[in-house]
C-alpha cells in the first residue's frame, strides 16, 4: 500500500518539467498572447518527441501503455507552465479511441495520434452547460452527422475530431472531409483557444464501444483539468510569494505585513491539499474505475474553484501591475477560468458527484 510516485513517475515529472521550464516556455507563451503566433508549435514538437502523445496509447498501438496517472502528472506541469499547446483536445481524442475503439479502429487510428503525426481534438458540448453524454443531441443520419459542436479546444488546427453523439455514442470525423467547417472566436484563454465546428452531412465513423467510453472520456477530462489547476495554482502562488518579497511600500517589503502573509497563507492552505485530490482522481480513473466518476467530479470542481480564487488573490497581491496585459499573471487567471468552465462548472460537478453516493 503506497500513495507516492514511483521512480519512473518521478523521472517523468522531472523530464517534462525541464522541457516546460519557465525560462524556455514563458517567451513562447508571450508570443502567443501578443498575437505573434497562433500557438506554440515548437514546444508541442518537443513534447511529442518526448513521448507525451504516446503515454496513454497501448503498446500494441505504438504507445507507451501507461495510465492516466502518468498523463495527469504531465498535465500538472503543463498547467504550471501555461504552455500554449493542443494537449487537452489531443489526449482526450486519443483516450476516446483507446476506450471506445474496436481493435481494428485502434490499430488504424492510434499510431498517428501516438506519434503526433495526426493532431486530434474533442467535440462534446452543443449548447451551454451540456457536457454530460446524456446532454448530447447530435444524431447521425446513416454515416453522416449535421449540427454544431462548441468549445472544441484547438479545433482549428486539428485533423481529426472525436464527436459526442446522441445516446452517449462517439464518432470520429476527419476535419478535411467535406461538410466540416470551423469557426474561431476571440477567446479568454489564449493558450487554449476553443472554436465551434459545424457539420453538414459530414462523414462520421462511430466508435464501436462509444457509449461505454463516453463517460470515461468526460471523466478523463475532469481528472486532467484538476491536475492542470493544481500545477497552475502553485505557480502563480510562487510568483506572488516572490513579488511580495521584492516590492516595497511604507518603507518595508510587502511580505513583512501580516495581512499580506496571511492572504498568501490562506491561498496555500487551499491549494496544496488539492494535489492529493487530483492524484486520487487520476488513481481511481486508472485503477478503481467504479469510483472514478465520483472522485473526478469532486476533484475537478474543487481544484478549479481553488485555482480561480488563488489566481485572483495572487493577481491582486501584485497590485496595478497585475492587471496589465504586459504582466503574465492574467495568463494563469484565464487558464483558471477556462479550467473552471470546460467540462462542466463546479456546482454542477459537485451535484454530479452526489449521483454516486448513497444519499
Amino acid at each position: 500500500m503506497k500513495f507516492r510516485l514511483d521512480e519512473d513517475q518521478q523521472q517523468l515529472q522531472a523530464t517534462i518539467g525541464k522541457i516546460l521550464a519557465a525560462d524556455r516556455i514563458q517567451p513562447r507563451v508571450r508570443a502567443v498572447i501578443d498575437g505573434k503566433k497562433a500557438w506554440d508549435e515548437e514546444t508541442w514538437q518537443e513534447l511529442v518527441e518526448f513521448g507525451l502523445t504516446a503515454i496513454i496509447v497501448p503498446e500494441e498501438n505504438d504507445g507507451m501503455g501507461l495510465s492516466l496517472i502518468e498523463l495527469a502528472i504531465c498535465a500538472e506541469e503543463l498547467g504550471r507552465s501555461t504552455a500554449a499547446v493542443p494537449f487537452l483536445g489531443h489526449v482526450l481524442a486519443t483516450i476516446a479511441i483507446v476506450e471506445g475503439g474496436s481493435e481494428e479502429q485502434k490499430a488504424r487510428l492510434l499510431p498517428g495520434l501516438a506519434s503526433g503525426e495526426v493532431l486530434g481534438s474533442i467535440a462534446l458540448t452543443e449548447g451551454n452547460d451540456t457536457w454530460a453524454p446524456a446532454d448530447w443531441r447530435m444524431a447521425p443520419e446513416g454515416t453522416t452527422i449535421s449540427g454544431r459542436k462548441r468549445n472544441v479546444p484547438n479545433g482549428d488546427i486539428a485533423q481529426l475530431v472525436v464527436v459526442g453523439i446522441e445516446g452517449g455514442r462517439l464518432g470520429v470525423v476527419e476535419m478535411a472531409k467535406p461538410g466540416v467547417s470551423c469557426e474561431t472566436f476571440e477567446c479568454l484563454d489564449l493558450t487554449r483557444p476553443i472554436c465551434s465546428i459545424d457539420f453538414d452531412k459530414a462523414e462520421v465513423e462511430l466508435l464501436q464501444n462509444g457509449p461505454a467510453a463516453a463517460t470515461r472520456v468526460w471523466d478523463a477530462a475532469l481528472a486532467l483539468l484538476s491536475a492542470d489547476a493544481y500545477g497552475g495554482a502553485w505557480k502563480i502562488t510562487e510568483m506572488a510569494r516572490d513579488y511580495v518579497q521584492v516590492r516595497e511600500a511604507f518603507g518595508a517589503k510587502l511580505a513583512e505585513f501580516q495581512a499580506i502573509k496571511h492572504q498568501l497563507a490562506n491561498v496555500v492552505v487551499e491549494v496544496e491539499p488539492t494535489r492529493g485530490l487530483y492524484w486520487f482522481a487520476a488513481y481511481t480513473y486508472a485503477r478503481m474505475p467504479e469510483k472514478a466518476s465520483h472522485a473526478v467530479s469532486l476533484a475537478k470542481a474543487q481544484t478549479t474553484e481553488v485555482y480561480d480564487i488563488c489566481a485572483r488573490m495572487c493577481t491582486e497581491l501584485h497590485g496595478g501591475i497585475g492587471f496589465t496585459w504586459e504582466f503574465d499573471a492574467h495568463v494563469w487567471l484565464k487558464r483558471a477560468m477556462f479550467d473552471t468552465a470546460w467540462g462542466g462548472r463546479p456546482q454542477r460537478l459537485f451535484l454530479r458527484a452526489t449521483e454516486f453516493v448513497d444519499w
Partner: protein
C-alpha cells in the same frame, strides 16, 4: 501508487473479522459494560489491532506503520459495533514524546499505565499571558536538592479537574536566557498534591472542561523533565506536530459529513427531506471534496515519509484546512437547524429534531479548535514563514530579535 487491498490485506481483514466475532460482545460474566469494553480493548491490543505504534514492552502491540491496515481496523470495528480505540492526550502525545525523548526509566514508569489509561493526562502549556505567544510563559521550576519546586499558573487545561497527570512547559533557566524558548523544560507532573489548586472554567458551551491550575511550591522529582533541561520547546514542538498530524481529524471530518447527511435526511424543507434539495446536496459534496483532499494528501505524506522522501508541507496545513472546513460545515448545519439553533438541547428538552442538540454543541466546539493548539492566525504565520519562506512579523519581541539577527 497502489491503494489496492492486497491479498495480505484481505487476509488481515478476514482474521480481524474472525477476532471480532469471537471477542465482541463479551459475556456478562466478565463484568459490567465498561469492564467488558476494557477487556475487549486489552484483547484487541494483544492481537495487534490497537496501540499499534507503541512497543510491546510498554504494553502496545508494536505493529509496522500501515495506514491501510489502520483503515481496515477502523472500518471493521465500526461495522461490528465493537469498542474503538480511545484517543487521548496520553497515547496521542505523551507516549510519542517519551518514546522519542524519554530515558529507559521514564518510559518504563510512565508508558504502560498511560496505555492502560490508568494514568490520564491534561496539558499545561498556556498561561494567562502566554497563549499564542507561548514562549513568554512564566511558570517557574527551581531545583532544590533533588526536587523541582514549581510556582506559577497554567490555564485552558482541558480535563485537569478529572485527570491526575499534567504534561507542562515550565521555565527552568534564568529569565535572561535568549532566545526565550531555550529556558523552557518539558515536565510530567502529578497534580495530586497540596501545592496544586485546580479551578474549573465554564466554557461557552456551559461545560467545565477547561481549568486554571495554580502551582504554589508544588513539587516534582528531579526526573520529571523529559528531553533535558531547557529543551522543552523542541520536545513540545514535536508534540505539536504530532497533534496536527493526527489522522483522527480526517476520520472526524468524514464522520461529521455522514452525520450532516443524516440530519439533512431528517430535516423537512417544502414538504420534502432537505437532502433532496440540489443546493444542500452540492454543499455536502463540497465538504466531501475537502475530506477527500485531506485523506489522500495525508496518505501521500505518510507514504513518502515511510520511504524517506521529503513530502512537502501538507501536514503543516492540515489543522487550518480542517478548521476552515468545519466553518463551512457549520454554514450548512446552521441552515438545516433553522430555529433549533436557538436552543442548547433541541430535540431533547424542547421541540425540534432529535440529533440537532449535537449540532448546537458542535457549532460551539468548532470555534474551540480554531483557538486551541495554535490559533488559526498563528497557523497562518507558521504557513507564511515555514512553507512560503516569508519573513517573521516585525513587531514586539520579534522586532527586537529580527534586529539582533540582522546585526
Amino acid at each position: 501508487m497502489d491503494l489496492s487491498y492486497s491479498e495480505e490485506n484481505e487476509e488481515f481483514r478476514a482474521k480481524l473479522q474472525e477476532f471480532l466475532k469471537e471477542n465482541w460482545p463479551l459475556p456478562e460474566s466478565i463484568g459490567d459494560l465498561k469492564q467488558r469494553e476494557e477487556e475487549f480493548r486489552r484483547r484487541a491490543t494483544e492481537a495487534g489491532y490497537m496501540m499499534r505504534s507503541i512497543p510491546k514492552e510498554y504494553g502496545g502491540s508494536e505493529q509496522p506503520l500501515d495506514f491501510l491496515k489502520g483503515e481496515i481496523i477502523r472500518e471493521e470495528i465500526k461495522k461490528h459495533g465493537a469498542p474503538t480505540e480511545v484517543v487521548h492526550i496520553g497515547t496521542g502525545r505523551v507516549v510519542p514524546v517519551l518514546l522519542q525523548h524519554g530515558t529507559p526509566e521514564q518510559k518504563a514508569y510512565w508508558i504502560p499505565p498511560t496505555v492502560r489509561r490508568e494514568f490520564m493526562w491534561c496539558q499545561g502549556y498556556s498561561e494567562p499571558n502566554a497563549g499564542s505567544d507561548l514562549a513568554s510563559l512564566k511558570t517557574r521550576a527551581e531545583l532544590v536538592g533533588d526536587k523541582w519546586i514549581i510556582n506559577g499558573q497554567k490555564i485552558w487545561s482541558s480535563g485537569a479537574h478529572k485527570y491526575p497527570f499534567m504534561v507542562a512547559l515550565i521555565r527552568t533557566e534564568p529569565e535572561d536566557v535568549a532566545p526565550r524558548h531555550k529556558g523552557i523544560s518539558y515536565f510530567l507532573l502529578d497534580l495530586r498534591q497540596p501545592g496544586v489548586e485546580i479551578r474549573p472554567i465554564k466554557q461557552i458551551s456551559g461545560e467545565p472542561e477547561f481549568n486554571e491550575v495554580f502551582f504554589t511550591n508544588a513539587e516534582a522529582p528531579i526526573d520529571a523533565v523529559v528531553g533535558g533541561r531547557g529543551n522543552g520547546w523542541n520536545v513540545s514542538r514535536m508534540l505539536l506536530r504530532y497533534e496536527r498530524a493526527a489522522f483522527s481529524g480526517i476520520n472526524w471530518a468524514d464522520h461529521l459529513i455522514q452525520r450532516c447527511v443524516r440530519t439533512a435526511k431528517g430535516t423537512m424543507r417544502n414538504g420534502k427531506p432537505a437532502i433532496e434539495d440540489p443546493a444542500v446536496r452540492a454543499d455536502i459534496a463540497r465538504l466531501q471534496a475537502r475530506a477527500m483532499a485531506m485523506r489522500y494528501s495525508a496518505y501521500r505524506d505518510m507514504s513518502m515519509e515511510a520511504v524517506g522522501e521529503p513530502s512537502g508541507d501538507y501536514m503543516m496545513l492540515q489543522k487550518l484546512y480542517l478548521t476552515e472546513m468545519l466553518l463551512k460545515l457549520d454554514d450548512i448545519t446552521r441552515d438545516l437547524l433553522a430555529d433549533d439553533l436557538m436552543m442548547m438541547n433541541p430535540g431533547i428538552d424542547t421541540d425540534g429534531l432529535k440529533g440537532n442538540a449535537k449540532w448546537v454543541d458542535a457549532s460551539l466546539q468548532s470555534l474551540k479548535i480554531r483557538i486551541a493548539g495554535g490559533s488559526s492566525n498563528i497557523q497562518r504565520n507558521i504557513i507564511g514563514e515555514r512553507v512560503l519562506g516569508l519573513p517573521r512579523d516585525g513587531v514586539g519581541v520579534n522586532a527586537r530579535s529580527n534586529r539582533e539577527a540582522s546585526k
